[in-house]
Amino acid sequence: MKNPRIPPEKQIKMTLNGDEAVAYAVKQSLVDVVAAYPITPQTIIVERFSEFVANGEVHTEFIPVESEHSALSAVVGAAAAGARAFTATASQGLALMWEILYIASALRLPIVLAIANRALSAPINIHCDHSDAMGARDAGWIQLFVENVQEAYDTTIQAFKIAEHPDVLLPVMVNLDGFFLSHTMEDILILPDEAVHEFLGGYRKVYRTYVDYLGKEVEIKLDPENPLTFGPLDLYDYYFEHKIPQIEAMAKAKDVVRKVNEEWYELCGRKYGDGVLDTYEVDDADVVVTVLGSSAGTVRYVAKKLRKKGHKVGVIRIRLFRPFPHDEVAELLKDVKAVGVMDRAISFGSYGPSYLEIATALYHLDRKRKKRPLLVNYVYGLGGRDLDPGLVENIFMELLKIAKEGEVKEPLRFVGVRM
């Protein structure tokens, strides 16, 4: 490892929970506008940030709104006016933001939204699963899932850089597991303010575009000098053409996520796999488990234990869920015998969301190579149900058996539930 520009000893150690870490990252990111509404387990993000505002520690305009629908709407307006804008929510709050999610991405506004992942009602439940974020997976937002509090801090800062990259210009969701990360204290390393400012290139710079009716290239922002209309009526004649750039920007975002992960590594010495996928012992593995979020630590712990016993097992943590790294996953899994896809969410009437993606990724391997791994979906942890190492060990052992026998009897399995 080469020396980072700011070595660990020059960084500041702080004991923060995941929400506080996000709030601190936002504090350092020269954010112009924050509009948010509190909801467990995200509340601390807004609470801490409003303290920074009250103490005069930030220049940010803080808008306390009456709902999440208004929170995202206010942030859309702010970002459209050229501000660097942030909001945070969870569960029902994200559900209430739904229609504005699509508007934020289609208007190409580089908003950052932190989600402390929480189950959706009913029954009402404040604990972690990924149903909230997975419901929003088609809304045109980049979705990153973090594993620990340090990564929540790091990723929040990275998210602004990814969102504002000229090849991307899309909003980014930073997902941290509710309670498991949002309310769990961890010793983390914080960069000096100036280092974060420099990493982000100072305040937000607005991208320029050519507009015919003005006859010139102008910044894409609400500006009385150069008035623009954002997202007006667009019927069967142009709507389709306006969707293609969103699709192309998503495709380019993968490289930008990788690049920003690498730049962060050079700055402070921390990186998360290649930024897209975080792998553990995959190269010679017979069995691989894929997982998102904080559960990855438990899965890796069990994999390490099984490796010591001589089982060839590996782990892929999916850090970037949208855009999904189909080709990269297929390349890593092409010689694996059995893959277990762990999902902390279910699409009712179908499978878990990441299972569908990985099945899609593996489908074309068959045509080229006349073989592909056996695939099982393990749905676990709904409503915050704990995933202990014993449950993970059962998954690995079952997959090793499947790899040996060459047959999947039940492609959809439920882990840790009383049937």
Binding site: R108, L169, Y213, P232, D234, D237, H242
Partner: protein, 95 residues
Amino acid sequence: MGNSELRSTKELPLAALPFKLSIEYKTGGWRALRPVIDYGKCVKCLTCLIYCPDMAISWDGEKVSINYDYCKGCGICAHECPVKAISMVPEGGSS
């Protein structure tokens, strides 16, 4: 919506911005009833101009006139006219 100059995805400005103004989207075709001004009765009070929700009535300093490219035939002008100088005439195939 004229199809003569349909553009490809790469020829549009970024971010769901249109490349032309809505003035090119002529909406008068929605109209079922056509407001017709009787200039013999008109007292040039401009009440119709103030009430028109589509700004389809204009004043040139001498008389008011209706822009039928954008007038949707709502009839508010006829209703508000204090001297009943505007009548709503059905749009027909022949006219």
